[in-house]
């Protein structure tokens, strides 16, 4: 569906992509994750033939040369990272125009999708909030039921409720057989849809991994408070658990980063009286700080790509 090989992209003297390789199979939901400025949008714009590779190749839906076969883009739904449309026209004007550019596909779904996301189609684009503009982007990307969806930061600007709505829309598309390529800088929003994730940093793919493994690697911040200082036996038991990293026990409080199942930790904690607890997912930035700090960090895995 998508095959990127040794893709290099320079902007003048600045190298934005240093030989990216990626493969996305038909029907797959693939996440593309990395901090802002890592090269996600550059790679996506090469896929759509907005940018021309400095070297390397890009294959989308079986064609290597979109410039010669632009009609292939009728089968792609693209949501730009930052959607800009002329301000005077309404969302309906814009969507109707895009439908005409695509040869009329998507007439039936436009209204239904707008209603699902609570989007008023008859207000001028200029007056729309960031979230409402993003809804217009989502509607145009999905309305012609494309085989391949390329979504650049799709949930940015959407409130949590609409993020859920978007994620269920993405899952429906996947179940209907579409291939999804979603970029994000937030791991948790990819978890809900994608199975595999590529991590890009400073223009290089540093890892391609199952999203569940990545989640385990990222871990959770865990903190437990007890009604009394822990016994020596309990301290020994917690210290011996490999799933707890950076364990700190002071008086009657415990903090650590938990990787994997919390089961053993909870059972051990339950021997004492727990007065307070919290556990929250670590964000991607922390994972990057720890694991992908060096551009060549993935070497340690022996799976540099």
């Amino acid at each position: 569906m998508i095959a990127i090989r040794e893709l290099v992209k320079d902007y003048g003297p600045f190298r934005a992509l240093h030989g990216v390789d990626l493969e996305v199979a038909r029907g797959e939901a693939f996440g593309f994750i990395g901090p802002n400025g890592a090269g996600k949008s550059t790679a996506i714009r090469c896929l759509l033939d907005l940018l021309r590779p400095t070297s390397g190749s890009v294959e989308v839906l079986g064609t290597r040369d979109l410039a010669k076969h632009p009609a292939v883009r009728a089968r792609i739904g693209y949501l730009p990272g930052e959607l800009v449309m002329a301000g005077k026209q309404t969302a309906r004007d814009h969507l109707t125009y895009l439908r005409e550019l695509r040869g009329g596909a998507g007439s039936g779904r436009m209204e239904a999708l707008a209603e699902r996301f609570g989007l008023d189609l008859d207000r001028p684009f200029r007056g729309l909030s960031k979230g409402n503009k993003q809804k217009v982007g989502v509607v145009q990307a999905f309305m012609h039921e494309p085989e391949l969806l390329i979504l650049d930061e799709p949930t940015s600007g959407l409130d949590p409720l609409l993020q859920q709505e978007f994620l269920s829309l993405a899952r429906e598309a996947r179940e209907a057989g579409a291939t999804l390529f979603i970029s994000s800088h937030i791991l948790s929003e990819l978890e809900a849809v994608a199975r595999r994730v590529a991590i890009i940093r400073a223009g290089r793919i540093v890892d391609v991994e199952d999203v569940a493994i990545l989640r385990e690697r990222a871990g959770q911040h865990l903190s437990l408070t007890f009604d009394a200082p822990l016994s020596a036996a309990a301290i020994d038991a917690f210290s011996a658990m490999p799933e707890l990293e950076g364990l700190v026990i002071s008086e009657n409080a415990l903090t650590a980063v938990l990787h994997g199942s919390p089961d053993r930790v909870l059972k051990e904690a339950a021997r004492s009286t727990v007065t307070a607890w919290s556990a929250h997912d670590r964000n991607l930035e922390e994972l990057f700080m720890e694991r992908y700090r060096e551009p060549d960090a993935a070497d340690h895995d022996g799976r540099r790509r």
């Binding site: 800009v84 026209q89 550019l101």
Partner: protein
């Protein structure tokens, strides 16, 4: 039309209000200038302009300003209509590709199933259609006043002046569009085309004054009007020069647009 040429139809639909305003403004200004002639000829224009040096009079096209054709040629076709249409064409050319690309509005059009050639071609056609409409407005107003006020300007000369005006304005619109398509920057398109227009006016008006007649011969505005567009008749060679210059500029703009990175 929106089926076969969706971009052309879309651009024209969005531009229709602005175009209508331009048409009304242009018609009023041209109508006002042209209809002033009978009053002007009542005054002693020769005396009013006698203090100007002969060279300057020629440069401004005022040497035969006491005749209707001389006046309409220098005041309407040589000055107000020319200036307003140049502003429209250069601004409109830059706003055809470079403006919306720079603002980011073109992203979904550029990633639609249509090839870059359709985007360039249909947007170019939209610009030329708008220019054609406005030049036709200038012609219609002048033609009507010529009849109503019995100015007696030969209709053949008027058609010739209009065709050559149309080609000139189309040329500057094409320069602005092509520069914008090549650079992706609105300021570059505006600046380049405006500088060319100013230079070309100066070459035509001032070249002969300082004894460098060849400057007027390489000036597109010189190809249009020489000293007075309304009295010179149709010049096939100059018209051809404008057509060829437009074609070359547009080909250059397309060459770059087809190859460069978009939306950067």
């Amino acid at each position: 039309m929106s089926r076969r040429y969706p971009i052309l139809a879309g651009v024209l639909r969005r531009r229709r209000r602005g175009l209508a305003i331009w048409a009304v403004a242009l018609a009023s200004v041209c109508g006002m200038y042209t209809s002033l002639f009978p009053y002007m000829s009542g005054m002693d224009i020769e005396a009013m302009t006698a203090s100007l040096p002969q060279g300057m009079m020629e440069a401004l096209g005022y040497d035969d300003i006491s005749t209707a054709a001389g006046y309409v040629g220098s005041a309407t076709y040589g000055l107000v209509a020319l200036a307003l249409l140049l502003v429209f064409a250069i601004g409109g050319g830059a706003a055809t590709i470079a403006g919306p690309e720079e603002r980011g509005e073109l992203e979904l059009e550029l990633t639609s199933p249509l090839p870059r050639s359709a985007i360039y071609g249909q947007r170019l056609a939209a610009l030329w259609i708008q220019i054609t409409v406005l030049v036709a407005v200038v012609f219609a107003v002048t033609f009507t006043l010529n009849l109503l006020q019995e100015l007696g300007i030969p209709q053949g000369d008027m058609v010739a002046a209009t065709v050559q005006l149309w080609l000139l304005i189309g040329f500057f619109g094409s320069v602005s569009l092509a520069l914008g398509a090549a650079l992706g920057r609105r300021a570059g398109a505006l600046g380049g085309a405006a500088a060319l227009a100013v230079l070309s006016w100066m070459f035509n008006a001032l070249g002969p004054l300082i004894g460098l007649d060849w400057l007027a011969m390489i000036s597109p505005i010189g190809w249009y009007m020489d000293t007075n567009p309304m009295t010179r008749g149709f010049h096939g060679a100059d018209a051809l020069l404008l057509v060829v210059a437009s074609g070359l500029t547009l080909a250059g703009g397309w060459w770059r647009f087809a190859r460069r990175d978009l939306m950067t």
